[in-house]
């Protein structure tokens, strides 16, 4: 439905002072770090139109979603990140660890729904043994063999290897054997050491996060990547983060999707910060799309953004909205007021209302369903045209 022919975007970009950046985007050249910083200062509509151009060049009108469920197997964590409202200390009120049977029960509870993926992430609880992690994955697969297990952020994988007392590269095949299908992108936060020292000094460094992701990709697993924005980080630190993701991707091509995560300020040690505005969130989507020229998908995670922002984001660079999400906990403890789940039919309707063609995918972006057979041949990998 685009009216934005490149001549028009060029004009917009000129007015916004980013004509040279637009020219590089049209020529499919990589944007520099300095370009990235300028994108934060230029008019939102110009940056959005440019990102939308790239998004349409790659995915046309398609907008991906999946039918998924979340399981957060424990909220006990020793990392004490200041932005987190989900973590509990052992023995603290509300602290929990799910036994493998309980994880299986969560999967069973959705047995009648067309769920294709479980997104499984949690806190770092040092008492959990290595076997526990294998057991929860096995429990999921035993309960629902066809489900794709997308589990364990980089910090969890580091912990799992520590508990196994072996290098991660040796542990990953065993996790795959148990049923692990891919890894989520959360926990990257902002790679800057300055921000880490102020906000999450017990968590892995940026270098460790990237090294872990490299190991994951080398083991043949795909993963996603994220950036937690809108707290105390600077624009330059955001661009540094995106550039480091881009460089690793050049090496491994293992990232499927980039997901900007908005800092939510309720119930945590950074509650005095305002958090990003809806317009900041749209800009973050757009900058991500423009900078990460080698990552196929940019996701507007609706449960965090809210449905309206996710709808608009589909015209500001995003091509994915995440899924139906049964039972989201982490953002809701930090004050998210979105519903904790949405019905598949609603998701399809609001993608359509946003002017896009809804396509149901599996975790690895194989097309499962689309109402437009010419745009998305069922059973084939989702088209990427960049």
């Amino acid at each position: 439905m685009s009216v934005q022919a490149s001549a028009e975007i060029q004009r917009l970009a000129e007015r916004a002072g980013i004509a040279d950046i637009a020219a590089r985007v049209f020529a499919r050249e990589r944007l520099s770090r300095a370009d990235g910083v300028r994108l934060y200062g230029a008019d939102l509509h110009a940056v959005g139109a440019l990102a939308n151009h790239v998004r349409e060049r790659m995915h046309g009108d398609l907008a991906y979603f999946n039918v998924n469920q979340h399981v957060n197997y424990t909220n006990i964590c020793n990392k004490l990140c200041r932005f987190c409202a989900f973590q509990r200390l052992p023995g603290q009120e509300g602290a929990y660890v799910m036994r493998p049977e309980e994880v299986a029960a969560k999967i069973r509870a959705c047995q009648d729904e067309p769920v294709t993926e479980v997104h499984m992430v949690a806190g770092i609880y040092p008492k959990l043994p290595y076997e526990y992690y294998l057991d929860i994955v096995r429990a999921v697969k035993a309960e629902r063999p066809a489900i794709h297990v997308k589990a364990f952020t980089m910090i969890e994988l580091m912990q799992i290897a520590r508990r196994a007392k072996r290098p991660l590269a040796e542990v990953l095949p065993e996790l795959r054997e148990a049923g692990l299908g891919s890894c989520p992108g959360g926990g990257a936060e902002v790679f800057s050491d300055r921000v880490r020292d102020l906000g999450y000094d017990k968590k892995n460094t940026g270098d460790e996060w990237l090294a872990t992701a490299r190991t994951v990709h080398e083991a043949g697993l795909r993963s996603n990547c994220t950036m937690l924005h809108g707290h105390i980080e600077t624009i330059e630190e955001r661009i540094d983060h995106l550039d480091r993701l881009r460089l690793l991707q050049d090496e491994t091509h293992g990232f499927q999707t980039y997901i900007p995560l908005s800092f939510h300020p309720a119930n945590n040690e950074w509650s005095h910060l305002p958090g990003p505005s809806a317009l900041d969130e749209l800009r973050e989507i757009a900058v991500g799309r423009l900078m990460l020229d080698n990552i196929d998908h940019v996701k507007a995670y609706w449960i965090m953004l809210s449905i309206p922002v996710a709808q608009l984001a589909l015209s500001f660079g995003a091509d994915d909205v995440d899924g139906t999400v049964v039972e989201e906990k982490i953002y809701h403890e930090a004050g998210a007021t979105t519903p904790q789940r949405v019905q598949r039919a609603e998701l399809v309707q609001w993608i359509r209302d946003a002017g896009r063609v809804p396509v149901e995918r599996d975790t690895l972006y194989n097309v499962l369903w689309s109402e437009d057979a010419t745009l998305a041949a069922v059973g084939h990998a989702a088209p990427v045209m960049a």
Binding site: Q4, H45, A49, G60, P274, S277, A278, L279, P308, Q311
Partner: protein
């Protein structure tokens, strides 16, 4: 892939219309419909943002400290999309007494409120005389608060029940102190739609005529649209064109506000489609800014859409955040409730990169921060705001007042904050 769907002639046509909008030219109904149906959301938002920036170039977003007051919920219009009204004799029917009303208005006064938005139902016995007394009593007790009251359909209801010309009813209400008229009850100004959703309510021509007469009587009013029910895209455009035509004629509309039908819990819920998603709201709201080139102000409907959408609309056409609404009963009866404090509203406005300023019912900035900086409160009252000063013969005294008011006004308004209806 994009080229498969975006055929070149369409592409060219949309680009031509977009250029027209950017150039500040008026677009036709056909062009508006094409934008509605074919332009993508970001393009519509961007074009509307351009119109907003042209009309309000100084980065100020206004809002008003106000409250809703519904003196009665009795209504015989029986609209199936309304969860607020009760029929006469219903156990939950009410007419508020003076003490209760005064207590509510005193709360508003204590917060520095400027406007009391009063609407009731079409009560068969609570008619203009009752309202005149109420408005006069309020003016005496709370002189700093403007009565922004009585939608066109209520005014029409008085005229019919009292068998008196509307002009006389308006004269009485204005004498009593009515300061401006809200735009409610417009729904969709197309008879096919009204016959389905509001068959007993004021018809299209009459709704428009009531506003014409309100403007001619020297008052300003606002305009609205409720969409996302049984109307088509073409009917939305027709609605906007009808408003634009009347505005060309009278210049009396201060602002436009659109919102989506809130069908949860209403009497005819089973007949209504599911609530329109926010993208539909944003699309129509942006289109409204583009089409209504002669209505200066565009309100965000955060009450129906939430604060995040409210914030987004400041870059998709809106320059006003509506009211703080210390109390709201009508859409909240339909399960929709997004009332926010002054602090939150200002944070959202600043977060979008604008300067928040409080206004009065006539969109004059009455914010102490503005006045301290040397800004002028313009217009400061109904006389200064009137677009038809002194036209009707029996309102000559108002005209004289208006003239003296305007004579004392200075013309060195803050740039971009002067209130002129036609840009």
């Amino acid at each position: 892939m994009a080229s498969a769907v975006h055929t070149e002639p369409l592409h060219g046509e949309l680009a031509r219309i977009a250029a027209k909008v950017e150039d500040g030219q008026r677009i036709s109904g056909e062009e508006a419909l094409l934008l509605h149906e074919r332009a993508d959301l970001s393009t519509l938002g961007r074009l509307a943002d351009g119109v907003r920036a042209r009309l309000h170039p100084h980065g100020v977003v206004t809002y008003i400290v106000d409250r809703n007051l519904n003196p009665t919920n009795v209504c015989i219009a029986d609209c199936g999309f309304c969860a607020f009204y009760r029929s006469p004799g219903d156990a939950e029917a009410y007419v508020l007494g003076r003490d209760e009303i005064y207590a509510k208005v005193a709360e508003l006064e204590a917060q520095g409120g400027k406007q009391l938005l009063m609407q009731g139902g079409h009560h068969p016995r609570v008619l203009s005389e009752w309202w005149c007394e109420l408005i006069a009593d309020l003016r005496e007790r709370f002189p700093s608060i403007n009565s922004h009251a009585l939608s066109a359909s209520e005014l029409d209801h008085f005229a019919q029940y009292e068998k008196r010309p509307l002009e006389h009813i308006l004269r009485d209400l204005i004498d009593a102190g009515l300061g401006s008229v809200p735009g409610a009850g417009a729904e969709i100004l197309v008879e096919r739609v009204r016959k389905i959703i509001a068959p007993k309510k004021t018809p299209t021509e009459r709704w428009l005529d009531v506003h014409r007469k309100v403007h001619e009587a020297g008052l300003r009013s606002s305009a609205t649209m409720m969409f996302g029910h049984v109307e088509t895209a073409a009917e939305r455009v027709e609605h906007l064109l009808r408003l634009r035509e009347l505005q060309d004629e009278t210049g009396g509309f201060t602002a436009f506000a659109g919102w989506t039908c809130q069908p949860e819990g209403v009497p005819d819920e089973h007949l209504y489609p599911a609530k329109a998603t926010p993208a539909v709201y944003l699309r129509v709201q942006a289109l409204s800014r583009i089409v209504l080139d002669n209505i200066l102000n565009m309100q965000a409907s955060y009450v129906t859409q939430g604060m995040k959408v409210g914030q987004i609309t400041l870059r998709t056409g809106c320059n006003d955040f509506g009211g703080t609404m210390l109390e709201e009963n009508v859409v909240s009866a339909a399960g929709c409730f997004h009332l926010e404090s002054v602090q939150t509203i200002e944070r959202m406005i600043r977060g979008a990169g604008f300067t928040p300023r409080q206004r009065n019912s006539w969109y004059g900035i009455c914010d102490p921060r503005h006045l301290e900086a040397g800004g002028v409160e313009a217009p400061g009252d109904r006389h200064a705001a009137a677009t038809h000063r002194g036209a009707p013969q029996d309102l000559t005294h108002l005209a004289a007042e208006a003239m003296s008011a305007s004579a004392t006004r200075t013309n060195d308004n803050m740039p971009g904050e002067s209130i002129e209806v036609r840009a």
